[in-house]
């Protein structure tokens, strides 16, 4: 029997190991790798101002797509009529509602990532909260466009406002569509204010470091912020109120969107679990979209490799996995109760989902929302791989689009009047309009990235001040102080 002997580890070898571990911790975690504030500012300013010609080429292409696919197609539909869309008996709601729900879902990510993680003091959120908040505002703008397009005669949109008109037809506050109007507007205003408040100190930083037209604009937007104790106190209190209060607003928005369907006595829609099922679906698509945006920012903007690291991909990947599990739970719960109910119309609808002409979409939804995330995101190395994480995020969003497609136009084909049943849904001009909104969203985001600091520098520095490495025995461990 061979005996191998090795020397007992020396104290200095252990010391060396501890130093290695400490260096690894600093490489891994942004909060443990501080830089002087002036350097952080310079990096963020440079990321905004270094723009290559490729950026403008992409922006130009997107602008053309927006002009043609969004405003061109929409204008053509207004002049010709709503018959150009896929709206028809029995699919009255068509794709406009699918896309409204899709964009409202994407918008949930900003609030979730920023507010919920702020409430729970989750530290990895710091460098990308603003990137997520921007998504909320821009995605809600796209949701609004879909609603306006769905109206047809968009110039009569003011009928939704509670303004007495000459016909004395007051808006009906007991209608879910009216709740939608209130909830989406509340969320849009609240999330825009929540985006702006923590931006003020960074706008003041940008004001102090820029010249020319940029300085003039930043000066106006920074409102005269200097950073006095009183200003920070008011800001801190307001951000805490916003973080707590915007969460129930966020939950209410997608719950109310779900009630557009759930309060109708239709097979497939009348479900008491539709509220939370829609909320988890919104988080599913939204967090996946945050993951995609963070990856694009990391690899296309200067210096972002310092702020966005593999630890962030890992954390977002874990969130996507947990939310995917939640979505599967709610999906199965909804499906199970409807299947068990024994209602013949519901049975026909469920069969139509799986075996109708669009059955492959139903299976694709399950594969992209459940099977793929579960197969990929359990693995730490795969979660940290940007190509894989981006692909999973994209597939989840395709899957979530498919979920809404099944809920709206596919489910409308089967109702309680068999003589009105349909077989297939033919989309129309909604498709180019949707492509236009996708291009518009990306274009707005690109332009904002040239002008707004995408990384909240003061929040990053505050986090770095709170973090330190201390020794527990010989092992370096991370400790976080609560500075607020």
């Amino acid at each position: 029997m061979a005996i191998s002997a090795s020397a007992l580890p020396h104290a200095h070898a252990e010391e060396h190991h501890a130093h290695d571990h400490e260096a690894e911790l600093r490489r891994e975690h942004l909060m443990l790798d501080p830089k002087p504030r002036g350097e952080l500012n310079a990096m963020v300013m440079e990321s905004m101002t270094s723009t290559s010609w490729k950026f403008w080429v992409v922006a130009g292409i997107l602008a053309v797509i927006v002009a043609v696919a969004l405003f061109g197609a929409w204008g053509y539909m207004i002049s010709e009529g709503l018959y150009l869309s896929g709206k028809n008996r029995p699919g009255y709601w068509s794709l406009f509602l699918v896309h409204t729900v899709f964009w409202v879902g994407i918008s949930h990510a900003g609030t979730f990532v920023s507010a919920l993680l702020r409430v729970f003091k989750v530290e990895f959120r710091r460098p990308f909260t603003r990137a997520a908040e921007l998504m909320t505002t821009f995605a809600l703008a796209q949701a609004g466009i879909q609603i306006f397009a769905h109206m047809g005669r968009v110039w009569l949109a003011y009928w939704m406002f509670p303004i007495p008109n000459q016909r004395q037809l007051w808006v009906n506050f007991q209608s879910p569509l009216m709740w939608d109007f209130l909830a989406i507007n509340t969320y849009l205003l609240a999330s825009t204010m929540y985006l702006f408040l923590p931006l003020i100190p960074d706008l003041a930083m940008a004001r102090d470091r820029s010249t020319g037209w940029r300085k003039s604009v930043y000066r106006i937007l920074a409102l005269g912020f200097r950073g006095t104790e009183a200003e920070w106190t008011h800001l801190r209190i307001a951000l805490n109120i916003f973080a707590f209060a915007i969460l129930p607003v966020m939950f209410s928005v997608h719950t109310i969107v779900s009630w557009d369907f759930a309060v109708a006595m239709r097979p497939g829609w009348s479900s008491t679990i539709f509220g939370p099922y829609f909320v988890i679906g919104a988080l599913q698509s939204g967090v996946a979209a945050v993951g995609m945006v963070v990856i694009v920012i990391r690899y296309t903007m200067k210096h972002m490799d310092y702020f966005i690291r593999k630890e962030h991909f890992d954390a977002i990947g874990k969130l996507m996995l947990v939310i995917s599990m939640g979505w599967a739970y709610f999906f199965f719960n909804d499906y199970m109760i409807q299947w068990y109910g024994g209602d013949s119309f519901t049975d026909a609808l469920l069969h139509f989902h799986e075996a109708g002409p669009g059955g492959w979409i139903w299976f694709m939804m399950l594969i992209t929302n459940v099977a793929i995330p579960w197969l990929v995101l359990w693995n730490k190395a795969w979660r940290r791989n940007p190509v894989l994480l981006f692909s999973v995020g994209l597939l989840i969003n395709v899957g979530m689009w498919a979920e809404r497609y099944i809920i709206v136009p596919v489910s409308l084909q089967i109702n309680r009047m068999p003589f009105l049943w349909g077989q297939d849904f033919r989309p129309g001009i909604e498709v180019p309009i949707f492509i236009g909104t996708v291009a518009f969203f990306v274009l707005l985001y690109m332009l904002a990235s040239r002008f707004l600091p995408l990384v909240p520098v003061w929040e990053v520095q505050e986090g770095q001040m709170a973090h330190s490495i201390r020794r527990y025995g010989k092992e370096p461990v991370v400790s976080v102080a609560e500075l607020e």
Partner: protein, 173 residues
């Protein structure tokens, strides 16, 4: 009346700034006459100063109350003004809760937002005492002191480790 001067002392780190606050008290400059300016939030506790007064929470609560009233008015009041009785039903309570909730939250958040503006006196574009180094991580103490104390304050700040101490000039931001 005693002449009052404004001095701006710039510190690189928080520890000397905290010592400077203590030293100013020793010299007879009270907290009300010292304003701390920084590029990252520094709590009052870090410098051993009294908590700042803020009305933002009161604005939020006031806004929530007004929002609730507007919600009640829209949900219960306006149907009286413009009655639409459908299927012989009047106003059900559950739907009105949705309207009241949304308006309560909306007005609460708008008032919180405006509260920051009012309490901080935003927007303020008039020239003010400030140096751009603050947003680069420096901590500034804006000290209002009697003319005869100026020299003592200046030398104390230098002794503690101030990067610079100078007469504060109001400049356009």
């Amino acid at each position: 009346m005693t002449e009052k001067n404004l001095l701006l002392a710039i510190f690189e780190d928080i520890d000397p700034a905290a010592r400077a606050v203590d030293k100013l008290r020793e010299l007879g400059v009270t907290d009300e006459h010292v304003t701390v300016i920084s590029g990252t939030p520094i709590t009052e506790a870090m410098l051993g100063r009294k908590p700042q007064w803020s009305n933002v929470t009161r604005f939020a609560l006031g806004g929530a109350f007004v929002g609730l009233c507007v919600g009640i008015f829209l949900a219960y009041g306006t149907p009286q003004l413009y009655p639409i009785v459908v299927n012989a039903r009047w106003i059900g309570v559950p739907p009105t809760i949705v309207v009241m909730f949304e308006l309560t939250m909306l007005l609460m958040l708008i008032s919180t937002f405006l509260g920051v503006f009012l309490d901080s006196r935003f927007p303020n574009y008039t020239p003010t005492e400030y140096v751009p180094e603050i947003s680069d991580g420096r901590i500034a103490l804006l000290i209002e002191c009697a003319g005869e104390l100026e020299r003592a304050v200046e030398s104390a700040m230098h002794a503690i480790g101030a990067e610079s101490v100078k007469r504060a000039q109001a400049e356009a931001l």
